[in-house]
């Protein structure tokens, strides 16, 4: 299971990469693996406000449809339209080409509610048992 360092994670298997006032968000390798082949993605529009741990996007795979929650709150400033056309990118490259959105952070303190790589690794290990 690929869990890179330098990112923060949620219990619902989303990742976020904070870069100054902005944050890039997506779903983890664990999430894409348990979803199976992703067939459809619905992203929020630019300018939409996301709230931490509230629904932000929807993904459908051959197995199920799932909500994707925002790791942090803020306004959506960039949307990865490529994954809408090629959802397989989320399966192939969940942390690079398969990112979902970039938001402008509204509350940096929220990151205290998230896990770092080590904590998430332990969390995933706990789920397997």
């Amino acid at each position: 299971m690929n869990i890179p360092d330098g990112l923060l994670f949620t219990k619902e298997h989303e990742w976020v990469k904070i870069e100054g006032k902005r944050a890039k968000m997506g779903i983890t390798d664990y999430a894409q693996h348990s979803l199976g082949d992703i067939t459809f993605i619905e992203l929020p529009g630019k300018g939409k406000t996301c709230r931490q741990f509230k629904q932000m996007a929807t993904v459908e795979s051959v197995k199920a449809a799932s909500d994707v929650y925002a790791s942090l709150s803020g306004n959506v400033v960039e949307v990865n339209e490529t994954i809408v056309r090629q959802p397989e990118l989320v399966n192939q490259s969940p942390y690079e080409q398969g990112w979902f959105v970039v938001i402008e952070l509204s509350d940096e303190k929220e990151k205290d509610n998230l896990m770092n790589g080590d904590a998430y690794r332990n969390y995933v290990k706990g789920l397997a048992q």
Binding site: T39, F40, E88
Partner: protein, 492 residues
């Protein structure tokens, strides 16, 4: 049938078209009747219909129909769907001229009601029978399918709170619920709160109580739940919901387990939808259509959709539209009348003891399969089940064979696969519902096949991965089908 022709049934009828071939020629139509039709109604280009002979058409559709799989052809243990046998005599009743030829507008015409008494009586009496079976006060027979019944039920919940001047925005569902429950709630404008299951497979009561407050409009549950387990704390759940003024909704998908044994109304439910095509012996899906009648307790009666069938003091039946609090029209006419009629016939044939027998055999058959199979597959919630049970192929998956591979292999063996990957709380789920229709011999044959599969996971997993082998098409690329959906044929 030799291989060359066999592929034909997999071709579209458009692909069998040969230019200039005709099935029939009508006299006087040798020429395109251009003069008859004003120009504005004429096509600019050819319609592109298939050019085939009558025999081409007959063979095409006959061969297609032979690929059909149904409970009439073999075992169909599709969990949550209750694919029980649909007795043929109900088709005969539904085919009687007096029912079949009645125009649906007849009861709405002046004096027409008197010419439609038989059909109105069937709707009225079916409502009464279902009310008795479920412990509800009144029913509407109009919803055209299970999910349509759910939407109707949730709209009644909304209307009830609105009538009391309350603004409530949440509907609670357990994480084992049918996907249509949260979907129906969302379509009706509610926000959905999902409560996880505990280790026994029940809704986690403490977490439920945490989420429950005076903003909650209703709680949607099925009992027995999607794991096939009777929700032992159902009374506690209903009482807690009622305490904050919320209504409790019963998804009737699993009524086949408790019919004649326990009534949702007595358990504390306020609204019930039933699937006549599951529990009451009418065809499913393509053989349908379905019907999803909704029952309510007395306090909710006024919110039921119109029209309502009422019995006058002189014993005749009539349509009544005078329900100002009604949620209004939800379907044209009276629902799927043919389905209602078949269910009425089914209930009348089985009677009280027959319905109880049906539930008992459904539960017995499920437990027989469960006990026989739990040595070979994981059974995450291991207790006496009701009409269905959920195995996990997690151990097989560790060895490279998934629930999907098992399902595909069952197709090769002439068995319809169980529901797979649902409920979502069980990994590699195989949800098996044998129903009461099946003999011990059929169940044993299924059990033997499943045991053979468990052994093949050890000895010969490649065969399972390659299944199905003996079908017109082999393993389909489901990902490609979902990503590159083609629903319309286009000429090359």
């Amino acid at each position: 049938m030799c291989g060359k022709f066999r592929g034909d049934s997999m071709r579209l009828i458009f692909e069998t078209s040969v230019s200039g071939r005709r099935g029939h020629r009508f006299p006087g139509c040798e020429e395109y009747p251009a003069a008859v039709f004003p120009k504005k109604y004429r096509r600019a280009a050819d319609a592109g219909l298939p050019e085939v002979s009558e025999l081409d058409v007959v063979r095409h559709y006959t061969n297609l129909s032979r690929l059909n799989y149904s409970v009439d052809t073999n075992f169909y243990p599709l969990g949550s769907c209750t694919m029980k046998y649909n007795p043929k005599f109900t088709e005969k009743i539904a085919g009687l001229d007096g029912f079949l030829d009645l125009h649906p507008l007849m009861p709405q015409l002046r004096g027409g009601g008197m010419l439609a008494q038989g059909s109105l009586e069937v709707v009225y009496k079916t409502e009464r029978l279902l009310s008795e079976i479920t412990g509800m006060n009144a029913f509407t027979m109009q919803p055209l399918a299970g999910a349509h019944g759910e939407l109707t039920g949730v709209m009644i919940i909304a209307a009830y709170h609105r009538d009391r001047g309350r603004k409530r925005k949440y509907i609670i569902v357990p994480d084992s619920s049918h996907g249509t429950n949260p979907a129906s709630a969302a379509i009706a404008g509610f926000e959905v709160i999902v409560v996880p299951s505990d280790k026994n497979g029940y809704m986690d009561f403490e977490l439920f109580k945490e989420k429950l407050n005076e903003d909650v409009a209703g709680v949607m549950l099925t009992c027995p739940n999607t794991l096939g387990i009777f929700e032992a704390q159902i009374k506690k759940i209903c009482d807690a919901a009622h305490k904050v003024g919320a209504l409790v909704y019963y998804d009737g998908a699993n009524l086949n387990a408790i019919m004649g044994k326990a009534r949702p109304g007595d358990l504390g439910f306020d609204i019930v939808h039933l699937n006549l095509h599951k529990t009451f012996g009418t065809p499913h899906g393509g053989g349908g259509p379905g019907a999803g009648p909704v029952g309510v307790v007395k306090t909710l009666k006024d919110f039921l959709p119109i029209s309502r069938v009422v019995k006058r003091t002189d014993g005749t039946f009539a349509l009544d539209y005078n329900y100002p609090k009604s949620i209004g029209y939800i379907a044209p006419f009276f629902g799927n009348f043919g389905v209602i009629l078949k269910s009425y016939a089914y209930i009348m044939l089985l009677g009280r003891t027959g319905l109880i027998d049906a539930s008992e055999y459904a539960v017995l058959n499920a437990n027989y399969c469960r006990v026989k199979l739990k040595k070979y597959f994981n059974l995450p919630y291991d207790c006496i089940c009701k009409h269905e049970f959920v195995l996990s192929a997690e151990a097989q998956k560790q060895k490279g064979v998934s629930a999907l591979d098992i399902a595909k292999y069952l197709i090769s063996k002439g068995v319809h696969p169980p529901t797979v990957y649902f409920p979502l709380i069980v990994k590699e789920a195989l949800m098996i519902e044998p129903t009461e229709s099946e003999s011990k011999e059929t169940l044993d044959a299924f059990i033997d096949t499943m045991i053979a599969i468990a052994r093949m996971v050890e000895d010969n997993p490649e065969v399972l991965k390659a299944a199905p082998e003996n079908m017109p098409v082999k393993r389909l690329d489901e990902t490609k089908a979902a990503r590159e959906l083609v629903v319309r044929w286009k000429a090359a």
